[in-house]
Symmetry: C2
Subunit: 336 residues, 2 copies
Amino acid sequence: MTTPPRVLVFGTGSVGTVYAWILSRAVGEGNLYTVCRSNYAVASTAGFTINSTIFGDGLKFKPQVVRTVDEAVSLSGGKPFDYIVVTAKAIQTTPSMPEQLRPAISPHTTIAVIQNGIAVEKPYQALYPDNPLLSCVVYLPATQIAPAVVTHREIALLHIGTYPSHASPEHKATAESFSRLLNAGGGRTQVHEDVQTERWSKLAVNASWNPVCALSRSRDAQFLASSPPEYALNLIKSLMTEIASVAQAWGYDNINAKTVEFQINRAKARELPGVEPSMLADAKVGARMEVEAIVGNAVRLAEEKGVPTPLLRGIYALIKALDATFQKDPEKVSAP
Amino acid sequence: MTTPPRVLVFGTGSVGTVYAWILSRAVGEGNLYTVCRSNYAVASTAGFTINSTIFGDGLKFKPQVVRTVDEAVSLSGGKPFDYIVVTAKAIQTTPSMPEQLRPAISPHTTIAVIQNGIAVEKPYQALYPDNPLLSCVVYLPATQIAPAVVTHREIALLHIGTYPSHASPEHKATAESFSRLLNAGGGRTQVHEDVQTERWSKLAVNASWNPVCALSRSRDAQFLASSPPEYALNLIKSLMTEIASVAQAWGYDNINAKTVEFQINRAKARELPGVEPSMLADAKVGARMEVEAIVGNAVRLAEEKGVPTPLLRGIYALIKALDATFQKDPEKVSAP
């Protein structure tokens, strides 16, 4: 029997907690380290609790809970980590998140980035160009309702691919290994030749609904009901169409009018008040939002290809300004 | 000596209070009636207080303070009002503001609308087509800092004209009379052949800065500093340019690129954090905003002439949705 891999989960919000649980089932609690911040006190003493419509109610587990990457390295006796799974919110921090991981990175550590947005892998690639880097797109409706207590429903699907998509066979193999590991823990995964298609597809939804709901303080169905379709619905549709045109400029042709139509119909079918995107949840409590990962990077990728995105640029200016008003508390700019 | 005119001021926020004071000096406190709501208790017992850099500090006056138009009519012994001055916030109410004025309207009552926005005169014209109707555009930096206590600085200028601009000589004469009345009370006025030029000029500023600042929870200079000029500054400039194009489609050619440039330079020159537009002040306390008067009507006037305003329409959808979240308190939807 081979030694189970050693895994470090960086950031234990709702997504981090659910994937930590899945991974703990595959590698054992002793081989799983979680970097926690606001929920450290609870997680390190009582462990985590998950109530899931898929996995079951009252699931409890207690991995090696640490406050920092340094503490994880020290607690593990300096043994290298096989996987670092980044599930922290994708916001700017000082030092940067890739920089914070450095003490735990060995030449063979696979870095799996489970974060929203587009082009979020670049800073990891820049610092660790020789490590296997996995880009992951997650579908997981989950909420941390109290420190280290998470509710989850409906789906837990992770799309996985290397970054860049044309990676070496060795790096490609780590995508398969990571997928098998999650599957062994009860997760559902899909490995892609080019996972960026999945990123763009999710971005079309996230870069439109997230800032619109945060700015208007409305859930999605509430927003659609707040003015006639030529205003509210049209704004969302136009934003999605702009994002689809950026995706196409980068070679992702199947992000198109059909994608937009499908996503619009999903939202139209929802009953009031609808769902609360993460940026709205953040805005309500004055927490930092994933502005650059979700909106700013999309705007810059549009500029690189000369694609006009007048509405997205306007929304970017608005949400960036709103986010700036949340930055007074220095506690909020350190991760995870 | 002729009998002084009898004046009813509808709405005593900051603008209503300062113009009530000016009018009280022209007609006497006994001939001036003010409809008050949230500040009724203070105003009816202690009167109003104004601290102004122009008019002086600690100015006190006590007109006939009433809660409703019906009460004003009853208190005045049924004698008709010569002027009704509407200074209430331009929001939708039930019954409508023009409808609420009915008990005080005689065939000769002049209605002066001192409200922000565009096309705000139409509901008054529809109900009282034969009365002289004055459209007024106000420049008056004032704030009600406590019930019936107002601070004011810098300027108190009222642009006055008939609505419609091509009114009968009799109605034109009331613009002159109202101007003389305010001048007699110490006010500064300008009578225009067509005051709509002034409305469009002010709208270019209001319909851009007001919703942008309310949505982003930022003062104007703060917003400009929150992202590079190609995003924040460009959004404001593009919105102003859209509004200028609507003004031009309606025949107001001198609302153009020069107007936009002038207004942009004014804002760029401001020091941090800059000024707080009324919609931002409203949004901070969850009060109804003048969405339809300032943004909605501009969008509809654009549609009537087929002028494309994609950014303004997007902003309209956002600010309308935000305003809808403030409408839970029924107290807040009755005027003034």
